[in-house]
Symmetry: C2
Subunit: 350 residues, 2 copies
């Protein structure tokens, strides 16, 4: 019998992380007996005077939000990272090894209305979000080694507030995920003399099997080694090291492609599609003075849904103790997303 | 100001995985606004003729379960790993790297009754589970490199079937998690000439800050680098390489301590405490003929609950894109668990 990737189990390697994923496409055939998630409420008021993310509302800290009209950023009232804390004593004990962590956590509202999400925003509105991301990265990057911009969307992703927003956690240390990507991209660059992810996107553009959508400046694809069912990566065509390297055309093109991928996501299961997403580029702080040519700026979307708006993929048991496992192949996921319309199933009411 | 671990954020290193965790204990003070989980139904029938894990029931495959009276093992009707599939072609492409994966997935029922869980089982009943684990590991380990025994418990952990059971996935490849533990334990052994986790458990027994419960043969502790709020590790006092190395006394002592930790878990939030747990020891297959003295057999419990039976820790956004983050410290979690009674809040009705 010949090997057929959409039928026969195999493992795939993720060169960005040095990890494997188990692909078991034959498992798509099993009946679903697992947990059914609650469907998220759809009728969200445009303004809610008890919602701490809305304009003019007083937050838990006693501060009152301004009557903002586009984006709005403030420091999280219950941050996981504080700017100024005492440092733990130094130790090189192999088992009880602690280091200092300094940082700050900000919340960024995308729009004054609670009933909007990125796919329902206009290109100029999304462009304001992108410009604000760049402004925050520039400012926080002066002081901090890592600035993680990320969006948790949907109650299933631990996000209880439907108001369109993201978070920005800046830290004095380089966290695990970017740290391993730093190492792997550096190794590749040393070996091949070219940035890993630029080589990768060019290979994918030739193969065309995993591309979801592309424009003159950006490519969105399901990586060969994707773990989440509909995971995608946002890659630039030109070699950008950090988000701050984008030119004006690239920003507009990014706004366009963000609108398209989030629209396709919502159209997949006719729901406001939950995910965690974020941006990765070369570290900042002292790295700003170093040669980071081995890095490529990119975005990651990790959506949990597997079969419908209420059936998610559980990353538990085997995944926690052994290795990530997926059912449908990356190519099957890419083809499903590619074929979905670019027009949102819902109409925005202004 | 002096550094106080229970008040001031810091990062801690996990030497078994080479990763860091962000500890932000001040965050315990924030009010909870996140998702509330459904409370799991408590009235479970002892026998349900539609439950494919019960004795005498016909499963989806058409096979009928025997009228079993202690443990019962069968091959999963929808396995993620199959024994005999065609192999993908070889390739050393840095981006499209696939390897063959062969394996099998079994389901193991702990007891004929659906309304029991491990903490409500007797020591002899738990001992039968342990003996069956050893039998399965021995048998599957002859052929396969890795035999992952794991239990997903609770709907929140993707487990819809309340019948007490675990799964056993055996594979021809060494998965990511044991692979990194293999590397790190080997490095430690090369450097110090002693098994890492035996050194670790001895250090913890001196410090006493993170021990939850111990007996003559086993120690359960919250590891210094724990990620999940009430994560624990089960460690042997004697150097065991694999589960198959236990003597009779160690087996009975393990049954005892499993009953205690799962009882404490249930007592924490007065609910059937959800978790994923599993066992890690030296790999099997061809590793059986190699010197694996650097390995120490141990168990891991990863429970998702944070504040109550309905409020869990979400490993999303920052965790997926940057680094795991926890609120309460490992020492605080250990002390809470330590102080809980060893007697279950529910009484078993026979
Ligand atoms: O027990 P099931 O239904 O086979 O599946 C469950 O456990 C598996 C192993 O941890 C996971 O891969 C699945 O995502 C989860 O739903
Ligand atoms: O948005 P919140 O409420 O601060 O918190 C949420 O996102 C954080 C960052 O991804 C996670 O650490 C929390 O577990 C999650 O509940």
């Amino acid at each position: 019998m010949n090997f057929i990737a959409t039928e026969h189990q195999h493992i795939r390697f993720n060169p960005l992380k040095g990890e494997w994923v188990l692909v078991s496409p034959h498992r798509m055939k099993r009946p679903w007996a697992g947990q059914i998630e609650k469907l998220q409420e759809e009728a969200i008021p445009r303004h809610d005077s008890t919602n701490p993310l809305c304009p003019r509302v007083e937050r838990a800290s006693g501060k009152v939000n301004p009557d903002y009209s586009s984006t709005f950023v403030f420091t999280n009232d219950f941050p996981a990272l504080l700017e100024d804390v005492p440092s733990p004593p130094d130790s090189d004990d192999p088992f009880f090894h602690t280091k200092a962590a300094r940082g700050t956590c900000r919340v960024m509202c995308f729009h004054p209305w609670s009933d909007l999400t990125l796919p329902l925003m206009t290109i100029p509105e999304i462009l304001e979000v992108i410009n604000r991301w760049i402004q925050e990265l520039t400012e926080l990057g002066q002081k901090y080694t890592w600035v993680q911009i990320f969006e948790n969307k949907g109650a299933i992703m631990g996000c209880s507030n439907p108001h369109p927003h993201c978070q920005i956690w800046a830290s004095s240390f380089l966290p695990n995920e970017p740290s391993i990507k730093d190492i792997k991209q550096k190794e590749y660059y040393a070996k091949y003399g070219r940035p890993m992810l630029i080589d990768y996107v060019n290979r994918e553009l030739e193969k065309k099997e995993r591309i979801v959508v592309s424009n003159n400046h950006w490519v969105i694809l399901v990586p060969y080694w994707a773990v989440w069912p509909y995971e995608v990566m946002v890659l630039p065509r030109r070699h950008l090291i950090r988000m701050t390297d984008m030119d004006e055309e690239e920003k507009v093109a990014l706004a366009n492609i963000i609108k398209i991928i989030t629209t396709k996501y919502d159209n997949l299961f006719h729901c406001s599609f939950p995910y965690s997403m974020g941006w990765h580029g070369a570290p900042t702080g002292s790295y700003l003075n170093e040669d980071c040519n081995y890095w490529t700026f990119h975005g990651c979307y990790f959506p949990p849904l597997l079969r419908s708006a209420t059936v998610k993929k559980f990353m538990v048991g085997y995944e926690m103790l052994a290795q990530s496992q997926r059912d449908l192949t990356a190519e099957q996921a890419a083809s499903k997303l590619r074929e979905l319309p670019d027009i949102h199933y819902k109409v925005r009411v202004d």
